[in-house]
């Protein structure tokens, strides 16, 4: 890639929009994952009794549900990102490439 090309892309408003949106989105989701996971670890470290609480059923504990929930949450979060990236972000990239072709 030549330098003028780089500059052209970097100045393109669509590029700025793409980068801004995706970076923000990526970090928000990263933050959400860190909070949920280290929240779970924190509960294990500091409040074991809470996780031992029975929830309605005689055996299943809150901790068990939360543990499975962390796994499901990680999966859903990646799904949300991929859906948005393969839709919105890829569209923006395609538009950007069309712009450059003109």
């Amino acid at each position: 890639m030549t330098d003028p090309m780089t500059a052209r892309i970097a100045q393109n408003p669509r590029f700025k929009e793409l980068v801004h949106e995706r970076t923000r989105f990526g970090w928000i989701l990263t933050g959400a994952m860190l909070v949920v996971y280290f929240g779970f670890i924190g509960l294990i470290a500091f409040d074991k009794a809470l996780l031992a609480t029975k929830i309605g059923t005689p055996t299943t504990s809150l901790g068990l549900i939360l543990g499975v929930a962390v796994i499901v949450f990680a999966f859903i979060l990646t799904g949300i990102y991929v859906q948005r990236a393969n839709g919105r972000f890829d569209d923006l990239t395609a538009e950007l490439i069309r712009d450059l072709g003109r």
Partner: protein
Amino acid sequence: MSRFNHPLLLGAALAALAASAAFAAGPDLGAVSQQATNWPAIGMFGFFVIFTLGITYKAAMGTKSAADFYAAGGGISAGTNSLAIAGDYMSAASFLGISGLVYTSGFDGLIYSTGFLVGWPIVLFLIAERLRNLGKFTFADVASFRLDQTSVRIISAIGTLVVVAFYLIAQMVGAGKLIQLLFGLPYLYAVIIVGVLMIVYVAFGGMKATTWVQVIKACLLLGGASFMAGAVLFKYGFNPEALFSAAVATHPKGDAIMAPGGLVNNPIEAISLGMGLMFGTAGLPHILMRFFTVSDATAARKSVFYATGLIGYFYILTFIIGFGGIALLMSDPVYFKLGPAGAFDKLKDMIGGTNMVAVNLANAVGGPYFLGFISAVAFATILAVVAGLTLAGASAVSHDLYASVIARGRTNEASEVRLSKISAVVIGLVAIYLGYIFENQNVAFMVGLAFSVAASCNFPVLTMSILWRGTTTWGALIGGFVGLFAAVGMVVLSKAVWVTTFGNPVAIFPYDNPALFSMPLAFLTIFIVSKLDNTARGKRERAAFEAQFVRSETGIGADGAHAH
């Protein structure tokens, strides 16, 4: 598990279990005697070997260019790649180790399952597509994109080789022990079989064969685990509550298995472990390579999404299998070494150790032929993982060290690929030798060390070079080495090595997992050294960020990797 009574030591061993057979087979099976030769298992494994060798032959026919060899020509689909990624993760240790951990401590097994999984979203949000857009064959391609080729490839290749070496030793020793137990073959036979097969897969079939071996194994393992979990749930009318009640009724710890136990007592240890698991995943060279085997960033993203689902599903199965082990095996003396008067300890006396829970459960729900199948899958699992590691190591030697550092670009594709094949053979032979000399050593800490190095050297160098404009070669080089030495040093001074292996009375470094300290140290060093770097080269590198940034975000100008 019986030897890990101290919670922190248990933690160390479990960190080590990460994605390896070390834990599954290293410490626990150390004293096993060879079992009777298990012909159904050997037969099924033989079938797997013949089938995968056929695939390797076909892959070898289609492997001509360097892109074919290192990255399967970029022609792997997102779905296939996700199975390969999941396969790299669903190791013998995840399967046998976590189900064994659930068997002994119930809930605590879930702590590891979640830790292994949550690295993936981070990989996706911050790394995967940028890696695909910038890279060609190895993650060093990405880290050295705008930095000095020689320096950055040296630190990346050393990081890769250290991770591969520790991981590989743990796997080889684990394989030997496991095979001794499952197949009734001598230790050395098993190590040689694993070594020779991985050489053949990698040297002849390159990334294509390595990927397909991993995919086939992932399908077999997912199928086998699904059947076992299904059979367990079937016995309890597909009502998890009934399964849990039965488990609580028979487990000596009773209702305590439904709540966090002694695994995580120290918050600092817990967070450090979590960081090592989470960010180590994002720095494992054999996993990062998989992002170059797909056609573009869209496919790279999809692979992580599917892989996260597959791995999550697999860990939930493992959890059910562990509880099934409690409910179905714990009160049946058939599965235990009996003491005088038929007495046995439910947690300590299981035949083959508690890591054999899944294997014994296979016998309980599916009979001897299913037991043979699961044993064969466990062997195939180790084989597939070591093949991936060998390829990552061989690529670091040929593509990073030889082509860019030693020959400085004055080489051609054919000789680079030839050197890569030679490296694969050498790595295989070294692995057999190391497997042989480490037979009776405690290798449980080695996978934990591999994860720590990946999190403290590879991951910081990679992310800083991609995400931060200010990173310079000096910053990446010095920061990478600081992270590497800090991680290795802290593990050596920790209890697992300093006390358990070297026999000193007290550990100098108080925690088992260094990531909480070594990883920020590496990031900080990269930051400070880069800031202080006033060289002309440093200025050029900062200026070159723009071009890298544009390409990493858009993929414009990215390597197609596929020559076809």
